[in-house]
């Protein structure tokens, strides 16, 4: 399948297409919690969902947090503006997520998301709703966001294609920040070609986001693949064996595979979390219960008490990260944690750039199969963080990466992740395009099929 977008645009839609789509989603949503808001579009473009931390003017944006309940953004995020400008898309809803992006399973929110392929299991996070929507709808693309793996993880668990571009390629203006030096807006779809269409429309410098750039994006489709041993060692036995079978298939398609050691890679998780939490704790400081979102009406309190009471609306994981982030930033430990992590980031970027000059990194996207929701709830924070081991390195280093299914086991997808060098975004997309010529994805749902 090349492009669902093209296919949709070439077909004649029945008059009540969107009404039926909407009704079906309304019916399913209470079970799966994919959407925070469902919208009946008035135009007839390709159905588009937007992760609820990305601002759409006039539509509530909550980042799945109680503290933002009622926030109506007065502007569109740049990515949304660029997409709407083409007049080819119709927004059908804001998708559910882990609060502010804090989570890898989609359960850190008021309405935990469920995996449509097995409703007892997690959908992955933090872009849980985006992945579910892509797994449900035949014709649809999702605008999502990744800080440490929030596009790859849910895409992998729900069996769809999830693409995260190089940091700075897509403007972050209008994205409710988790960690500004790590956040990237990206996409989910059912094919690499659709990802390419979205990247074409949205990439490029935005004057409103000084960290966005106009650097040239290339499409180098390397035939050499690299596996980092320290990473593959952390993958579940069962997944590893299936992954190696997949790698054999790739060899038959003409790829060479090399194993390397990179022992600093283990430091990527703590370095990532230290930077992410430090930045997040400053980004969440603006939520004080009176300018937007949740408003505390009790003015008998002085400002310190008022703020503390309003910020009780944060979920537990958000509170944990704000407290930790504040600690990490304190003068006494700043050099030890925060400054060190910035150095580790530089070191990893340099080392990986060398490896990726003429190759892609390949690995399973996640080290485990999607856990049952009850299991996930009983995991400790550290166990949680450790599941990001395969997605964190490209995210920390701002490298373009893409997750896609390569097999299925007991109805659940097995996904792999390809990582390219900075600005080789079209390269990783090409890889998946080629894979799709040799493998057909399976979808349990095809809502909106014409």
């Amino acid at each position: 399948m090349s492009s669902y977008i093209e296919e949709f645009e070439s077909k004649v839609k029945p008059k009540d297409y969107y009404d039926r789509l909407y009704d079906e989603l309304v019916r399913l949503n209470p079970r799966l919690n994919a959407f925070n808001a469902l919208i009946k579009p008035d135009k007839n473009g390709i159905p588009l969902s937007v992760k609820d931390n990305i601002c759409v003017k006039g539509i509530e944006a909550t980042a799945s947090s109680k503290i933002l309940k009622g926030y109506i953004p007065p502007f569109n995020a740049t990515v949304v503006e660029r997409v709407l400008k083409t007049k080819r898309f119709s927004i059908i809803g804001k998708t559910n997520m882990d609060e502010f992006g804090f989570g890898s399973f989609g359960i850190n929110c008021e309405k935990p998301a469920k995996n449509p392929l097995d409703e007892e299991r997690v959908a992955g996070g933090s872009s849980s709703g985006a992945a579910i929507a892509t797994a449900l709808l035949k014709y649809h693309v999702a605008i999502a966001e990744s800080t440490g793996g929030s596009i790859s993880a849910p895409a992998a668990f729900c069996g769809v294609v999830g693409f995260t571009p190089t940091y700075s390629v897509i403007s972050r203006y209008g994205l409710i920040d988790y960690a500004n030096s790590l956040d990237k807006i990206g996409f989910m779809a059912r094919s690499a070609d659709d990802i390419r269409v979205m990247l074409d429309i949205t990439k490029g410098k935005d004057n409103r986001d000084p960290t966005s750039t106009d650097s040239k994006i290339v499409g180098l489709h390397h035939k050499k693949l690299v596996i980092i041993d320290e990473l593959i060692d952390k993958v579940d036995e069962k997944i590893r064996s299936q992954f190696f079978e997949f790698v054999e298939k790739l060899k038959n398609l003409g790829y060479t595979v090399k194993n390397i050691n990179l022992n600093e890679i283990d430091l990527s998780i703590p370095a990532y979390y230290l930077i992410a939490m430090a930045e997040a704790s400053t980004n969440l400081a603006k939520f004080t219960g009176f300018k937007y979102g949740f408003k505390l009406n009790d003015f008998s309190k002085n400002y310190n008490e008022f703020f503390a009471e309003a910020r009780e609306e944060f979920g537990t994981e958000a509170k944990r990260r704000v407290i930790l982030g504040t600690f990490i930033r304190s003068a006494s430990v700043k050099d030890k944690y925060y400054s060190k992590s910035l150095i580790i980031r530089k070191e990893l970027i340099d080392k990986l750039s060398k490896v990726l000059k003429d190759a892609f990194l390949i690995s399973p996207t996640m080290p485990i199969m999607p856990p049952k929701i009850s299991e996930a709830n009983s995991m400790s924070p550290v166990q949680n963080y450790a599941t990001d081991i395969l997605t964190i390195p490209p995210n920390l280093c701002g490298l373009p990466h893409i997750s896609f299914p390569y097999s299925y086991s007991n109805g659940l997808p097995l996904s792999a992740q390809i990582v390219g060098s900075q600005f080789n975004d079209y390269g990783v997309i090409s890889f998946v395009s080629e894979w799709e010529k040799n493998f057909e994805y399976k979808f349990k749902y095809n809502i909106g099929e014409i």
Partner: protein, 432 residues
């Protein structure tokens, strides 16, 4: 005694530091606002290049070393007037450092640092709420941090005067009140007086604090290290409320802004009025203090002097400048100036009528008084006020008063009138 200052100066840019909202001062609250200066989630800052140019120029005036590359940090603290609950400011990579300024009597005041930062919103305290006006939020500021080199009230006054005069010539509006933190130690420990607005309050706060610490020391008590605030109404410094003490700013690099290479940004040309006054004084053998007073906050006066110093007698020119200031003449043309100088050099009194005539380029009316006419005027006046003679005997200075009245009424030449008045009074009272 050691005094150091942290002074915040608002930069005269058209738009705010990180967004395109106007910086114009308006009466209605919350007019010049947008998602960025209100700290709406999803908004991002966008740096104004004019702020860089002005900050660089200030750093230059203060003889600072200027960095080629600057960056910003987040200073995190919670207060209703701070929209993001962090202020974007500078720390290590501040635009200027290690500078100095020379004040009266050649005293050097070293400048530690110059940094660019954003202003919080305006907060009006009411009993039950805070009322917030975000027009001010995001206005570009430069913070000037001095070393504690000021050692007296006189030096403090001179420092403020010198700084304000230099900033004036950069276009920095001294009417927009500057805000400062004052650090004063007479003993071993440093007392911080925070958030003092305006130079008058700054001097008063310093005066009060110096007295307070002196008094403590005289009683054998060491002033404690603390943060105080200045109460404008009571004109005292007071121990501060909790706000300042426990906060930990938790600085991190501002991740929404990259590093900026400012090497190629030009520095605005400006005038040092103190140097200028000295130059002119030497050139024309005139009192530099008077020149400085005339030009320190008046670019127009300097311009007039420079355009006309070769054309006219310098003394007369300076007098003319004083009259122009006195009568608040906005834009005097060359002919009017020439006429004004003629009046001055003719020894005539300058009054409202003189000014109105010269502006209209009309001949100034002088009373064409003969000696006789003036004498009659004087005698008439004395007749109407007979006890003047009695008072004159006791106090000769009364002649000035009488002469003054005559000059006013008749617009006659002052020196002549005074001479005749004295002569007449003397003859009428039988004195010499």
């Amino acid at each position: 005694m050691k005094i150091g200052l942290e002074i915040h100066v608002a930069l005269p840019t058209k738009s705010k530091l990180f967004c395109g909202c106007s910086t114009e001062q308006v009466d209605t609250p919350n007019i010049n606002i947008c998602p960025i200066c209100m700290g709406f989630p999803g908004s991002k800052p966008s740096l104004n290049e004019e702020a860089i140019i002005l900050a660089k120029s200030i750093a230059n005036i203060l003889n600072c070393k200027i960095r080629d590359k600057i960056s910003f940090v987040r200073k995190v603290y919670f207060y209703p007037d701070l929209p993001k609950s962090f202020q974007i400011t500078q720390l290590q990579e501040s635009i200027g450092y290690e500078g100095l300024i020379i004040i009266d009597k050649g005293k050097r005041i070293n400048i530690r640092r110059i940094q660019i930062e954003e202003d919080p919103a305006k907060i009006i305290r009411s009993e039950e709420y805070s009322l917030l006006d975000f027009n001010r939020s995001g206005i570009p500021l430069v913070e000037i941090v001095t070393e504690p080199d000021i050692t007296s009230e006189e030096e403090l006054t001179s420092f403020i005067f010198t700084l304000k005069a230099r900033l004036y010539y950069l276009g920095i509006d001294i009417d927009r009140e500057i805000k400062a933190d004052l650090n004063i130690s007479l003993g071993k420990e440093r007392v911080e007086v925070k958030n003092v607005t305006g130079t008058k309050n700054l001097l008063e706060a310093a005066r009060y604090e110096i007295e307070r610490q002196t008094e403590l020391i005289s009683r054998g008590i060491e002033p404690t290290k603390e943060t105080r605030s200045y109460d404008e109404k009571e004109r005292k410094t007071k121990a501060s409320r909790e706000k300042e003490s426990d906060e930990e700013y938790g600085y991190i690099y501002e991740p929404d802004l990259p590093e900026y290479n400012i090497k190629n940004y030009s520095i605005r040309e400006t005038v040092d009025p103190i140097e200028k006054a000295k130059e002119l004084a030497e050139k024309h053998a005139y009192n530099p203090k008077i020149i400085l007073e005339a030009i320190a906050f008046d670019r127009y006066a300097l311009d007039l002097i420079e355009r006309n110093e070769e054309k006219y007698n310098f003394n007369s020119l300076m007098q003319a400048i004083m009259e122009i200031k006195r009568f608040k003449i906005d834009n005097i043309d060359d002919l009017s100036l020439k006429m004004l100088l003629e009046e001055i050099e003719g020894g005539f009194q300058i009054d409202k009528d003189t000014i109105s005539s010269i502006i209209k380029h009309e001949k100034v009316k002088h009373s064409d008084f003969s000696q006789e006419g003036i004498d009659n005027g004087i005698r008439e006046f004395i007749e109407k006020n007979p006890d003047i003679l009695r008072r004159y005997i006791k106090n000769k200075k009364l002649a000035d008063y009488v002469a003054g009245e005559i000059i006013k009424r008749y617009k006659a030449k002052p020196k002549e009138v005074l001479k005749r008045t004295i002569e007449i009074l003397n003859s009428m009272t039988g004195q010499k």
